[in-house]
Amino acid sequence: MQLGFLVDLRLCMGCKGCEIACKVENEVPLSTWRLRVKYVDVGTFPETKRTFTPLRCNHCANAPCERICPVSALHYLENGIVNIDKERCIGCAGCVMACPYGAIYIDPQTQTADKCTYCAHRIASSMMPSCVVACPVEANIFGDLDDPMSSISKYIQSHQGDVQVRKVEKGTDPHHYYVGGGNVTLNPLASIREEGHNLYNNITHLPVGGHH
């Protein structure tokens, strides 16, 4: 079994229901996110549009975070999920340095690394990840990539010309796919971040990662 995720960006409307569901399900502390939706505005007024990209751990088959973790706190489950054992983590932040997707953070409460686990605890109880359940337009598709009859495998087969992953050049073999994506949505270097262009400005951030 190899569990994977697919997000159809053509369907996503940026409601952030998945973000909130994830926060509630996994008790993700303030100032940190296991899953978040990035907004990128494209074009010049009045010809503009807004794109929405849910971002989470890619559960790579060749995961740099798993390789760099000195204590195997990050480890593979039999179903392909890259899981984390917060009791074992020493908080070296090697995984934060290694993840090319910026999906790992230091939990300010436990002072250990944390990230999306595809809701491994729910999977173990034969439930879908909370973000999948919360999505009102079924933009999140989850399932077994090894099973050709699973919904995710069928979705990939029927959209073969439009399926992408992020940062293929890193050789991580991610198990998180996007349909309807492009450079603007998937490449962080293809958009700019400027003061004054955020939906919310002058935000007060809690200290991230503790003592630095």
């Binding site: 760099i68 090697g94 993840c99 293809a190 990662g209």
Partner: protein, 299 residues
């Protein structure tokens, strides 16, 4: 490519979470800097004791003492950087051997053991033969202890700037630079002219080679990867430009110039200034190189 794309699309991020900021900061810089001195002094001590045994016998105890002090500074900063520092023992009881951190911790532990053995041999037993025998093993182990940080940086897949072949060369050169600088400061005027000349040449060549590598990265790095080009903008007119050049001048250019002048004028005073400049500049150079890839958004 991205610049052209941004110009064409006017794509602006309007909502994303805050960047994690600099997770590996000055504490890790201290770690790398102290380790360079701790292993570098062993390299130079080994070299001098082999090449000039008659004139350098007095360095045996100071070399091992300095190495022990700086390796423990390195270990101290390694541990306090952990967000769960009291779980440090997990590295030894739940080791993951694919991680450069694990390998480095084991190597450093062995290295400290050998250093303590050397200190025992020279201070308690007054046994130079045993000291020299242990030094042979210590200098071998000093190589992976120096290099493991380069392995760690190479395993940081997200940071394209840190490439393994270059970083490993930079780590060894940093150790030679720091080791020769510390040895120059240690020796006072007790060294003969031949020893001083050797130390000056090692310092000058390490500085020159390191500077060439940094400049090569600066010029040719952007041609290889877009991500590297974006990172290097922080030192090409960006917020770390001044700090980067302060580091380059102090760590490499000033020592190179002063080494040439000291060799010409046979001035040990200039060599000492070069050594201090190299040690300070090395910290600054390492810090800039550590920090800038962390400023780039990953999402």
């Amino acid at each position: 490519m991205a610049h052209e794309m941004i110009a064409a699309t006017n794509a602006i991020v309007t909502l994303d979470v805050a960047l994690p900021g600099i997770v590996w900061g000055w504490i890790i810089t201290m770690n790398m800097w102290a380790k360079s001195i701790g292993t570098g002094i062993i390299f130079l001590g080994f070299y001098l004791l082999k090449k000039h045994p008659e004139q350098t016998g007095f360095i045996r105890f100071p070399v091992v003492a300095i190495s022990i002090v700086f390796i423990h500074i390195f270990l101290f900063f390694t541990v306090i950087d952990l967000h769960q520092m009291f779980r440090f023992w997990h590295i030894f009881f739940y080791p993951h051997v694919t991680s450069a951190i694990t390998i480095g911790a084991w190597m450093a532990t062995g290295f400290v053991g050998l250093l303590l053995g050397m200190a025992y041999a020279i201070y308690m037993k007054k046994d130079e033969a045993l000291y020299d025998k242990l030094l042979n093993y210590t200098v071998i182990l000093a190589v992976p202890v120096t290099l493991y940080t380069a392995g760690l940086m190479a395993q940081s897949t997200a940071r394209e700037l840190w490439q393994m072949p270059t970083e490993s060369a930079q780590m060894i050169l940093a150790a030679l630079l720091a080791g020769s600088a510390m040895m120059i400061l240690l020796g006072g005027n007790k060294f003969s002219d031949a020893v001083k000349k050797d130390l000056a040449i090692v310092l000058g060549l390490a500085a020159a080679a390191s500077f060439i590598l940094y400049m090569a990265e600066l010029v040719f790095g952007p041609m290889k990867a877009e991500e590297v080009a974006a990172v290097l903008h922080y030192i090409k007119g960006g917020e770390y430009t001044i700090m980067f050049w302060i580091g380059q001048v102090m760590a490499f250019l000033v020592p190179m110039a002063l080494v040439c002048l000291s060799l010409k004028n046979q001035s040990y005073y200039l060599l000492k200034i070069a050594a201090v400049s190299a040690l300070v500049g090395l910290w600054v150079s390492k810090h800039v190189w550590l920090v800038i890839p962390q400023l780039l958004p990953m999402s």
